[in-house]
């Protein structure tokens, strides 16, 4: 009762103050521009410096730096800028500039095309100046309309069919429209899901292709797809968890934290771990008390991300470069689709397998990821692990994590037995998509990388595992106990793991069941003889 009256009192007091301030100043406040970021204290559309026609990204950046004069310096030290991350745990120099995968193979060799997702204005070639402040492309992250990244990319005028094997011509005009920098500049704000998604949803050449837990369905996520980002729920953006200080993002996939033992510290800035908000005892008392016993060995993601690619966009699980380049009788590109219309072969990209509602694979993981690079020699007959997630059952820092596995075949230097980069795009005659000539493509790419290439092209099977973090389902859709605690459960391929529900030493089960059956048949036989012998007497 007392709380109620205090509440009502406060309500009136606030109303009175609000009313009186209007009365004191004699006017109602200006209508706030319905910009997406109403929490901001600045309305960029009113800034004088932004009331001009920007002819280039660099011009716009200079305008931004006029006020945000430390921003570029901060960006210059970020992973987003450098694409090169010294991994303290492994001593390796990783990041997009250095690692390889079986999808678009390598960024370094694809000149301006991959670099178009880089947060710079004009990274075109090796001559790019990473120290130039005006090169920072502010809009890459701070565009709030969600149109900029895509439009910027399409200014490259790559042949549409390079990516859009299922190309819809009617949309062509829309996507290749030049971004209106002056308009976009007035609407800048904190990065939205669409800002980040402009690049991250489309990794390796299309929506959802690479990650499976990151695709454009998250931009309009319903609750069942992502409980945090749900438009009809919490409505978090990427940066709610991936907190940023000084333009440094938390939560890099190159140096993930497999087991956060610090607990709740979101007030000091989230570390993009579940524990950062949910703490070390995350399940409520009303839940099965056994759940909290799991957190020491099972990553939250394992139960709470029951499947990948749940938003209606398939993700690629297999990419076979070795068959790419096949053309039809007339020399034209081939495109083959499965019954769902997904491209399972194209001349430009080779063979593919796709999945929706994909069950992740599970591995022990202690946060240390080692990459196989072009420096390492490989076994051309084996399956090359492009990255190795360290950890095992005896490692207290390791937990069981869900991973998206990418498998495929990718080019190698058959003589040196090393992985290679390859040039795919390219207007000159060295891009694979132009010539279907691996030797020329690899040769060009290796020159860029400053490495030897013998000229002998081979292909090797590769595997890569990416820890899964997104598309967190609501609690009611999390895995049930039986999902793992059964003989054919999800953990059946995880090494060194015993848990109830999977049986134990199989020979022991067989032995005891045989004994029980023998006992049963023994007593039945005994009983039968008793019956027969008593009948004989009777």
């Amino acid at each position: 009762m007392i709380y109620k009256s205090v509440g009502v009192g406060l309500f009136f007091a606030i109303g009175l103050i609000a009313a009186s301030s209007n009365w004191v100043y004699g006017k109602t406040p200006d209508t706030v521009t319905p910009a997406p970021m109403q929490l901001s204290t600045a309305d960029h559309s009113k800034f004088e410096v932004l009331q001009q026609r920007f002819k280039s990204g660099m011009e716009l950046t200079k305008a931004c730096l006029g006020c945000h004069n430390l921003a570029a310096k901060q960006v210059h030290t970020s992973n987003h800028w450098n694409w090169e991350i010294p991994n303290d745990k492994t001593g390796q120099l990783v990041g997009k500039r250095n690692v390889l995968n079986s999808m678009m193979v390598a960024t370094s060799s694809n000149g301006p095309y991959c670099a178009r997702c880089h947060i710079s204005n004009e990274w075109k070639d090796e001559g790019f100046d990473f120290t130039a402040e005006e090169q920072v492309d502010c809009l890459a992250c701070h565009d709030t309309t969600g149109t900029y990244a895509s439009n910027k990319w399409h200014q490259l005028r790559v042949k549409c069919s390079a990516c859009h094997v299922e190309w819809d011509k009617s949309k062509a005009r829309e996507v290749v429209r030049k971004p209106n920098l002056s308009e976009l500049a007035k609407q800048v704000g904190k990065p939205s899901v669409k800002s980040c998604g402009g690049c991250h949803f489309y990794s390796d050449g299309g929506d959802g292709i690479k990650h499976g837990d990151l695709d454009s369905s998250l931009a309009t996520a319903p609750r069942h797809l992502d409980v945090h980002m749900a438009q009809d729920g919490l409505g978090y953006s990427c940066t709610t968890c991936h907190k940023t200080e000084w333009h440094q993002m938390m939560g890099s996939q190159y140096e993930p934290e497999s087991k956060d033992e610090q607990g709740v510290d979101v007030a000091a800035g989230s570390r993009a771990t579940c524990e950062s908000c949910h703490g070390l005892v995350p399940h409520p008392e009303s839940a099965n008390p056994k759940l909290n016993n799991h957190v020491d060995r099972i990553a939250c993601q394992t139960c709470h991300i029951p499947a990948l690619a749940r938003g209606g966009r398939p993700t690629k699980t297999y990419w076979d470069w070795s068959t790419a380049g096949r053309v039809d009788d007339k020399g034209k590109d081939i495109v083959e689709r499965d019954d769902k219309g997904r491209v399972i072969y194209s001349s430009k990209r080779g063979g593919a397998q796709w999945a929706e509602n994909l069950t992740p694979e599970y591995v022990w993981f202690n946060g240390r990821i080692e990459f196989t690079t072009m420096d390492d020699s490989i076994d051309p007959a084996g399956v090359v692990q492009l990255n190795t997630l360290a950890g095992g059952p005896d490692d207290p820092k390791a937990r069981i994590w869900p991973v998206k596995a990418l498998r495929g075949k990718q080019p190698i230097d058959a003589e040196q037995a090393t992985l290679v980069a390859a040039s795919l795009f390219g207007k000159k005659n060295d891009g694979f998509w132009k010539t279907f000539d691996w030797t020329a493509s690899i040769d060009a790419a290796m020159k860029v990388a400053g490495r030897e290439f013998s000229g002998q092209v081979g292909f090797v099977e590769t595997e890569m595992r990416i820890p899964v973090n997104h598309m967190v389902a609501p609690a009611e859709d999390a895995l049930a106990c039986v999902s793992c605690h059964s003989r054919e459960g999800r953990m059946k391929d995880v090494e060194g793991l015993y848990m109830p529900g999977i049986g134990s030493v199989p020979i022991l089960d067989k032995l005891f069941l045989t004994m029980a059956l023998l006992a049963l048949s023994g007593v039945l036989l005994h009983g039968a003889i008793r019956v027969i012998s008593s009948q004989k007497k009777g």
């Binding site: 099965n288 022991l508 005891f512 004994m515």
Partner: protein, 207 residues
């Protein structure tokens, strides 16, 4: 003339039948937890198994108290005397209508094979299953008791092995319950408490 003696007191009968229900429940649920089949679903069945286990613990506390206060624990003192006769009876005599070598009295309710079997249940199967079961239930506090390096699988193997032995005991026990002088005599006795015995002077019928 057969005579009736009151062998199983009210608490004993209550103990026997509630224990029977609980053990059968524990076997059915336990083997699902072990992953032999799927009946109730893992989460539910673990709950049922745990409830039944704690109920049985409670029952045993009463039973142990009862056995010691009444002196009935002496019924389980093992003896090999006439055990060979019992084996011979089950192997041959029972088919030829030979007389039962054991005379039941209130002081000696159990024949020597029963004594051995029950003692095995009480001293081997019971402790193994209780001890491993408690370890299982308190898995999350193992490190606090210096058991961090104990493999859960060992505990599971001990628990399941004891459970299998209990299953085998149950099969044989249920069958031998029909091996009285009529097939239902023992079962009736376990329900009513009254067993029909040969009309002999109770004092003389020691085994």
């Amino acid at each position: 003339m057969p005579k009736k003696i009151y062998v199983f007191k009210r608490f004993e009968r209550f103990w026997h039948w509630s224990q029977a229900i609980l053990i059968i429940t524990l076997l059915i649920t336990g083997f699902e937890v072990h992953g032999i089949y799927s009946l109730f679903g893992f989460e539910q069945v673990v709950g049922y198994h745990t409830i039944a286990a704690w109920t049985l613990v409670g029952l045993w506390i009463f039973a142990i108290f009862w056995h010691f206060t009444t002196g009935e624990w002496k019924q389980y003192i093992p003896t090999l005397e006439k055990a060979d006769a019992m084996i011979k009876y089950y192997a041959v005599g029972i088919f030829t209508n030979a007389p039962h070598p054991f005379r039941q009295t209130t002081r000696h309710k159990h024949n020597p094979l029963q004594r051995l079997a029950y003692l095995f249940v009480l001293l081997v199967i019971g402790p193994t299953i209780w001890f491993s079961g408690w370890l299982y239930l308190f898995y999350d506090v193992w490190p606090e008791y210096g058991l961090a390096n104990l493999p859960l699988e060992w505990v599971a193997v001990a628990h399941a092995s004891a459970a299998y032995l209990m299953l085998i005991f149950l099969i044989v026990h249920v069958y031998l319950a029909t091996a009285g002088h009529t097939p239902t005599a023992h079962i009736k006795a376990m329900i009513t408490g009254w067993e029909e015995v040969e009309d002999e002077d109770e004092e003389k019928t020691k085994i």
